[in-house]
Structures are given as C-alpha cells and as structure tokens.
Symmetry: C2
Subunit: 125 residues, 2 copies
DNA sequence: CCTAGTGTATCGGCACACCAATACACTTGC
DNA sequence: GCAAGTGTATTGGTGTGCCGATACACTAGG
C-alpha cells in the first residue's frame, strides 16, 4: 500500500504518506475502525524517520480522517456516508475557491477558468 | 499603482509586484511599449530591495509579459491581441490542470471538481 | 566623451519547511 | 504488574526560498 514513496520528489514525504491514506479511504480500501500501520513499523518499512510518519498522521487527524490514540495506535475514524460526502464537497469547494482567487490574482476571469475546465475535462455525459 | 504591498503577507513581495503588473496589463492599463518604473525607483518607493523588484521583473520577462533592456529600462512587450488571448487560455489551463492534480491527490474525482465549480459560479448565462 | 540612470551579478543573512535522532508517556495483553 | 508496543515531545541539522547589500556593466542624453 505504501510501495511508492519517492524521497527525491518535490512533494514532501509526509504528504505522500498522508495522500496514500486519503485515497485509500476515499476508495473504500480502508474503512472506519481499521488500524493503520504503527508509526515505527511504517517508518522502518519506508526507511524514513518516525517523526515524518507522525507528521503525516497528524495532518490526517487534523482533517478528521484518522484518530491517534496514545499507546493504542492510529485508526481511521468512523464517518457516516453523508458526512464523508459532505467532506468531499467541502474539500472540492475549498480547492475551487483557492484556484479562483489565484486566477483573479493573475488577471483571469471566472469565465476563463470555466472554459479551461471544459477544455481539460471533455468527457462529459 | 503599487500602493498596496504587504511585507507580512505569505505571498512574497516579488510575486505581489509581478501580479500588479499582470493585472494592469490584462486590464489594458499598460500597453505594449509602456515603460515600467525603474528597478531602483520602484524599490525605494516601496521601501524594498532592488533585487526584489528585479526578481519580479525577471518572472514577468520569463512569461513574456515585459522585456528588460540593460541600460534602458523595462517595458511591457508588444503582443498581438490573439497572442495575448492565447496566453490567457494557456495560463487558465495550467491553473486548472494543477488543481485537478491536487484534487486527485486528495482522492477527489473530476466530477467533484466540476460540481464544486458550478456551485461557486452560479451566475451562468 | 561622460555623466546619470538603467539593468546585471554575486554574496550573505534570515526564516522556515523538511526530516533525522532521541528520550518520554501511555495503553494493551499476558 | 510489567513488558512490549504504541503515540508524544524536544532538539538539531540541512536545504531552500526570500530579501537586503554592494559592486559591476551597459545605454541614453547632453
């Protein structure tokens, strides 16, 4: 599950780890209550420092994806289906708002962004 | 034109300067051949180091927005209307592609992004 | 020419993100 | 209880982006 970690990538290792968990949860491979690898186990497995794994897990906890219980382990938090769906739409909105702000920063209009999205996502049903 | 520069902002000063020029050019306030403030003049006006202004101008030059001529000054480069329009669409595409990459990084689908954009931009004709 | 004004180049400090190392505190299971 | 395994906290090293300082090279105008 954590096979591909690139230490030379510009995206930090802790982000790569957290992203793996995110997509695994989003894809349903990990469900509420499932245990994640322990900080040490994952760290030695990835040839990485435990603190790096901790940072990844803490980010996930801040976003409500997992819960860290001292002495016990780290587990993906149980979320109802509609809560999860709401989280997805909220994340998407944050992303889009941030992009729109960047667009106006560059002198682009919302219409420019919309047509660009239509261009990048042609497969529309 | 450069009245509002926030040195405590997380976005770097050189980016703030470059952005000002970008929107001024996009809005038509600056046209091809117009001279920008000299590196030193703008630097002292903003209470900023000349090298910071240089970095902003170099970024603009890399993007083809301006041309720096040693000993002469910095001028916005003359671009045909269709060239400018092509630049806009290219910039918008870059932005959207980058956002889509981030979205998949978070386990979101293109459909999530599209519906989020529809939600954020309701005024559509 | 040559001076004043322009961009160019290089160095250095500062802050911060990233990550390794190490010692500490807690929970579980026997 | 207590040992093994878990998360927690602190410290420090390394790299890099940001920006200030200073000296250099070129171009215009008189």
């Amino acid at each position: 599950m954590f096979s591909r970690i690139d230490s030379r990538s510009p995206v930090p290792i802790y982000a790569q780890i957290a992203d793996r968990v995110r997509v695994a949860v989003a894809a349903g491979e990990l469900r509420g209550g499932d245990a994640l690898p322990s900080v040490r186990a994952l760290a030695t497995s990835l040839r990485v420092n435990p603190a790096t794994v901790v940072q990844a897990y803490r980010d996930l906890e801040r976003d409500g994806i997992v819960e860290m219980r001292q002495g016990a382990g780290t587990f993906v938090s149980a979320m109802g289906a509609e809560t999860r769906s709401r989280e997805r739409t909220a994340a998407a909105s944050r992303l889009v708002r941030q992009m729109l702000a960047e667009a106006t920063r560059l002198g682009l209009t919302p219409a420019d962004v919309r047509s660009a999205l239509d261009r990048e996502l042609p497969e529309e049903k």
